[in-house]
Symmetry: C2
């Protein structure tokens, strides 16, 4: 019998291979049992799923499904003070089509152009639409963990909250003008993350909501926090502090670095301080305590 | 407000953290944005999804779902002549429960004991049950690719075909005695794969069926193959050559290594040879041409 092309191979060859450069760091063409990462340095690696009707609506254009899934995963590398180099992509889909793959691979390709990353492998299989991205980057000199927050550290976000929520609302009105932080999350640049790295004690990306993600820093650092939500923190309403999908960097650093932080991240906002006591106190601009029913997004 | 434990964190802490050792190679506890792989050598990395009702039945015990998903993914590292060290595990599940996670984490734990591997990170999210495993191992001296088959190479499988199919049939009759190659795939040992590595020109694991996987070797090597299916190749019936789920190693090597192969892999079976002409010819023990409607398993 002649050699065969099955569906998996057809879509892989036609749409995914063009997104995969072979170079010194990734010396093997996609399509083998494994990919090779050629690295003499330690690697940061993270894996994230984007599931239909959980992380994105069923109507979302495959271009944005791809771009968003990759950006959301890459954001975890940036949250540790490093930058993504490449990723594996597992696509679970009920029935693949040329139209879907054409758009989806355009999203991959544009993401690679924007972030200088490379697709190096993955899997294509049948099931409910679910995009699993495993992204990695070379360890930076200083790894910024969640557990490094120190008492009296300033707490910052790299930009205002609510752009993700606003982007989703615009998408729901079919206003698809870019930039849109929901459809194509913009992340910190490589230059920014390299410049800010030495100053940070702890960091996380705001994916599930500011308070939930701050909770993770406090929990792992065995600390607490006091913060004030001024008018300039939220672009929509006060609910932006628990909305998530922002992909801004939430970080803590010693107060003495405030000038450097402002210089590198002119849009950053100081929210408050890390405290000894293990609780999070949120006040409004008048100093009144604020309470929230939930701290952020939980997929369950 | 006090610090919070959400569902994701609850299951992570209670069931997954105990499967994750911190050591020199994996210096970071799970629960941060990324994992760290401390390695001065190149890495082999591969990612595989196991989806409910596609790769396993909805009735399958979570213990076996975990063990199988990990073994199937690890098999890809072995297929390149190396051995798995660790993995990231993304769990998509409709509604997590203590009972499910208890069994599932026992499967992880037993897999780690059997293979000397470590869970280093991942993701837990809502959706149709889908287990995504990204496994990696240190590059061995010689990387065995699919595209290395040479004309006149002998073609071998490391063991008979059909144990996966038989295991699944036994499972369907609720006969759960072990060993069962479907429920708990047994893979080549580290010693075996290290010993055989220098002799191989190409290799792949038989996951989707012998003929489909041989097709992949031939396609990527730009070669063909002639093989004879003797009685000792299949344990059930002739359909075992297209059944898949075997996770035996299919490999090619120069004929002069036959003694070494037999010594390292006494259960291995020589099936035929690689040819110049790009087609696969299969004959039965009487030399009669055999044809198959499909070459193996395709999830679409």
């Amino acid at each position: 019998m002649s050699l065969l092309v099955n569906k998996e191979k057809y879509f892989l060859e036609k749409y995914l291979k063009p997104c995969a450069d072979v170079n010194e760091q990734f010396p093997l063409e996609i399509g083998d049992d494994c990919a090779i990462i050629s690295s003499s340095e330690d690697l940061l690696i993270s894996s994230d799923n984007s599931v239909i009707n959980v992380h994105f609506p069923s109507t979302l254009d495959p271009y944005f499904i791809a771009y968003r899934a990759l950006a959301v995963a890459a954001s975890d590398i940036i949250a540790m003070g490093a930058y993504p180099d490449g990723y594996l992509l597992n696509i679970t889909i009920p029935e693949p089509s040329d139209e879907w793959f054409k758009q989806f691979s355009n999203g991959i390709s544009d993401f690679n152009d924007d972030f200088g990353t490379n697709l190096i492998g993955g899997d294509l299989t049948k099931g409910q639409l679910n995009i699993s991205v495993t992204v990695f980057g070379k360890k930076s000199k200083k790894i910024i963990k969640r557990n490094g927050a120190k008492v009296d550290d300033d707490i910052y976000i790299s930009n205002k909250l609510g752009l993700g929520k606003k982007g989703f609302e615009l998408y729901n009105k079919q206003i698809l003008d870019l930039p849109n932080q929901y459809l194509k999350p913009k992340l910190l640049s490589k230059e920014c993350i390299e410049a800010i790295n030495p100053f940070l004690n702890s960091a996380i990306d705001v994916s599930d909501g500011l308070l939930l993600d701050l909770n993770r820093i406090c929990d792992q650092s065995q600390k607490g926090a006091v913060l004030t939500i001024h008018d300039d923190v939220c672009i929509n309403s006060i609910d932006d502090v628990v909305a998530g999908d922002d992909y801004v960097l939430l970080f803590t650093c010693a107060a003495k670095h405030s000038k450097a932080i402002r210089k590198i991240l002119p849009n950053s906002i100081r929210l408050g301080n890390i405290t000894e006591e293990k609780e999070i106190l949120v006040t409004d601009k008048e100093g009144k305590n604020m309470n929230f029913e939930k701290l952020g997004w939980d997929s369950f």
